[in-house]
């Protein structure tokens, strides 16, 4: 850098600093440390695909006409000549077939949206399984949770904008579900659609929601999410020198500026590659929305599939005798809609949102946790996580049951019967198996610490005994296997004090103890130094 450039840079820096005191911020941020691990990139993928969504979305708004006014198609696409369609659909065709690169931008936008939701869910799973949601990050878990819900809203509102026959049927399902809400449902439906379905105002309303309201909220919450990450400093995986009181890593500038900044371009590049090669949402094959046609084997985008699966799973008649639609005092209560589309997702998401507190009640731990758990060391949490994923996957598979049936030549009805039982049995089974695997891995860890690594070298003792030589672990290897807490079930104060007076808050304590026993009654403790000394002593006798 020339001296001239240096002095120009210094001058600019001085100019800005005198007006903003930015120097302090730069000092604070530039050498901020971040630990290194591949799983920390999942959240980054979500962030970067959101940036790609903003960039490609701006391009799309330049051509999209959010209007339900009916026009007759008059463009290059022969199959659509003279077909009546909304301006929204016509402008989607226009930008796809008459704007060079327009189709590419639509596909970049759609693929980035799928990646966005997928990255959020995977990132959330990483945070869940490593216990990164523990104190002090519970509130940031909630911010992230809200971002996940908003990403679904962003995805669904965008998916509906082209006003094609697929998304139109999706909206009609939303309308049916909305109307099933007791007392107010019909009015909410009128409120959303501006009258009867589909009305003439929905696309403009969804457009505003999709390009202003939802992304605005997402931006604000991303800022809050990242602010809290900076405030808390990043979590780290266990290892030598890493404690709950420090952070070990590389500085934001230059290492993470290059790595994370570079990773944005990698994400963008890969989305562009996928969008260039693979067609997604070819609305010109589906046609404009018309309430009459529908085709077999059509599915919503992946993130809504679980709701569709739940709607398919729920029988209209339980065991062919109990109706799932009740008529009471002249009013209709549709459990076959309320349960799968509202109550079930509500419980599922509600449990997810509250999970950090549920686990905090069980552990009774009030300290800040900055070193991540290895999933095996939290067998119940890991079991719950795998059970939730199994539950979700069963719904997704039921949402694709027609495609599975077709592909594997199975009966559609049998598949549904299977999943109806599976939705109860499989998550429980997954929990049980996962917990067992965690215990097994923990025992293996104990084995390694106590007796060292197998070397594959067999020696014969003088008295004829064959033994395999074990090599002790290094201090660093051992530390990773023994550094976690050995959490015992909560001990609570008795119900009555020594004067026989009933204690306030006893029932709540009992609940926490019950929860704690579920988590920690059965556990494998990490090896202690005494145990290791004893084991080594015994080895000495051989």
């Amino acid at each position: 850098m020339g001296a001239r450039l240096d002095s120009a840079a210094a001058g600019t820096a001085n100019y800005i600093d005198e007006r903003t005191s930015i120097g302090g911020f730069v000092k604070f941020f530039a050498r901020k440390l971040f630990p290194d691990h591949w799983s920390f990139m999942l959240g980054e993928i979500a962030l970067y695909s959101f940036v790609v969504l903003l960039l490609s979305g701006v391009f799309l708004t330049a051509f999209f006409v959010p209007s339900m006014t009916i026009v007759e198609y008059d463009g290059p696409l022969a199959t659509m000549q003279g077909v009546e369609m909304s301006e929204a659909f016509a402008s989607t065709l226009h930008m796809s077939f008459e704007v060079p690169g327009g189709l590419l931008m639509r596909q970049i936008h759609h693929w980035a949206a799928l990646l966005f939701t997928a990255a959020i869910v995977t990132h959330m799973a990483r945070v869940f399984f490593t216990g990164a949601f523990r104190k002090p990050r519970e509130l940031n878990w909630l911010v992230g949770f809200t971002l996940m819900i908003l990403s679904l809203a962003a995805g669904f509102s965008g998916y509906s904008l082209p006003d094609d026959v697929l998304s139109g049927n999706g909206l009609r399902i939303i309308e049916g579900v909305t109307r099933s809400i007791p007392i107010v449902g019909e009015y909410i439906s009128y409120w959303i659609f501006g009258g009867e379905f589909p009305g003439e105002i929905l696309i403009p309303r969804l457009f505003t929601m999709h390009i202003l309201l939802v992304p605005g909220l997402i931006l604000v919450l991303i800022a809050l999410h990242l602010f809290l990450v900076f405030l808390h400093k990043h979590t780290q995986y266990p290892g030598g020198g890493r404690t709950h009181k420090n952070v070990v890593g590389l500085p934001l500038f230059p290492v993470y500026t290059a790595k994370a900044g570079g990773f944005f371009f990698v994400v963008f590049g890969i989305v562009a590659l996928v969008a260039a090669i693979f067609t997604i949402n070819p609305v010109w094959n589906y046609g404009p929305y018309d309430p009459s046609p529908v085709s077999a084997g059509t599915q919503p985008d992946w993130y809504i599939l679980f709701v569709d699966g739940a709607l398919r799973l729920m029988p209209g008649w339980l065991f062919d005798v109990i109706p799932m639609e009740w008529e009471i005092w002249g009013y209709t209560l549709s459990w076959n809609l309320l349960v799968p589309a509202l109550i079930l997702p509500g419980l599922f998401f509600g449990f997810l949102a509250l999970y950090p507190w549920i686990e905090a009640w069980a552990t009774g731990d009030r300290g800040e946790k900055h070193v991540l758990d290895r999933p095996r060391n939290a067998p119940v949490r890991t079991g719950i996580g795998v059970a939730l994923i199994t539950f979700y996957v069963v719904l997704v598979m039921e949402g694709s049951n027609d495609i599975i049936a077709n592909l594997f030549h199975l009966s559609l009805n049998d598949l549904t019967y299977f999943f109806r039982i599976g939705i109860f049995v499989l998550p429980a089974l997954a929990f049980w198996i996962t917990r067992r695997i965690c215990f097994g891995l923990q025992r293996k860890d104990r084995e390694l610490v106590l007796h060292g690594k197998e070397t594959g070298r067999i020696v014969r003792h003088e008295h004829g005994e064959y033994v395999e030589v074990h090599e002790p672990l290094t201090d660093e290897e051992r530390w990773v296997l023994i550094q976690h807490d050995d959490i015992a079930p909560l001990e609570i104060e008795p119900e009555f004090n020594d004067r026989g007076v009933r204690r306030k808050g006893y029932r709540w304590d009992r609940f926490k103890q019950w929860l704690s026993r579920i988590y920690f009654e059965k556990r494998i403790s990490p090896v202690t130094a005494e145990e290791l000394a004893e084991a080594q002593h015994e080895h000495g006798h051989h």
Binding site: L33, F97, S180, G199, G262, R312, L313, M324, T416
Partner: protein, 361 residues
Amino acid sequence: MSTTENPTEHGPEGSEKQNGFENPGLPYHRPRRADVDPKADKKAERQVAALFGVSIIGTIVAIGSYMALDMTDEIDSIRFVNMAIGLGIFLAMIGIGLGAIHWAKTLMRDHEMVEERHALRSSDEGREGAIQNLKDGVEDSGLGGVKRRPVLVGSMLTALLAAPLALLWPQIGNMGADWNISNFGHTMWRKGMRLTRDPDGTPIKASDVTIGSAFHVIPEGLNELEHHKIEEKAKAVVLLLRLDPRDLNLQPGREDWSFDGIIAFSKICTHVGCPVALYEQQTHHLLCPCHQSTFDVANGAKVVFGPAKRPLPQLPIAVDDEGYIVAQSDFHEPIGPSYWTRLHDTSDGLHADDDTEGSSH
């Protein structure tokens, strides 16, 4: 900087014990090839520069494809232009990304550093100060303390809670159009209205409907509607089928709703409103592709499988003097999914057989 790093000796963190073990401290720094071998260093530098070069080529490819390639009306040519631009963008982006990451991984200093964390909790003095400041503010304002002003507080809270209504009431009030939810209860079908083909609107003669065939039907005059055409179509679409009369079990009270094996049902699923579009001729089953509710047409379209609870509403039909199929009336119950006040729309006589044309909308 007050940070320590890991090249020389074990750090001071080892003092913390867990399960009786000492924390071994930071591991030793392992030098990379470029750290020790100047040749490897030079090579990595060239690789990074080459990756940035890939990006520059990608940009040229993207802009060049946009300018040089023509889009014709052929879908293949459109796809090709988009693919060429897309591949250019891919190279332009991935070159920068991989270059920067390679630079960071091979050439930038990679000695791990340690920073202490501080408890997030404010200091005791900080907390006391905060509480005192708030107390002072409460005292100064009269929100509480010695000179408490309950009337002010009460009226302010009431005003604050009520004020959003000034904004929300007119807004929400306007968003539901006429709020006439009784529209859910009826469709445009009327006595004597012909059943016509979807989408061209040509009427159907009974003699056109052969046994085993199925027609997608819209009401006569739907295509000529000036307003609410799609809304009306969304409710009024019908499937017209003809079964062998021997297979058809007429439902009690509906013996005269069909004609010689020709029978008409609402096409809108009673589960959540998808069109029930798949007809299996052999079994007389209608299947909704959205959630697979299955209805048995031979038995009043009752549910045989899936999430729907109620049969598809039946449209009573007859044949007029010219041999065309006509409706006898509107449906006798609301079509589509269930809702809270569905039974009100069923039982209030809106759908009497003598309902005359044009009585609504």
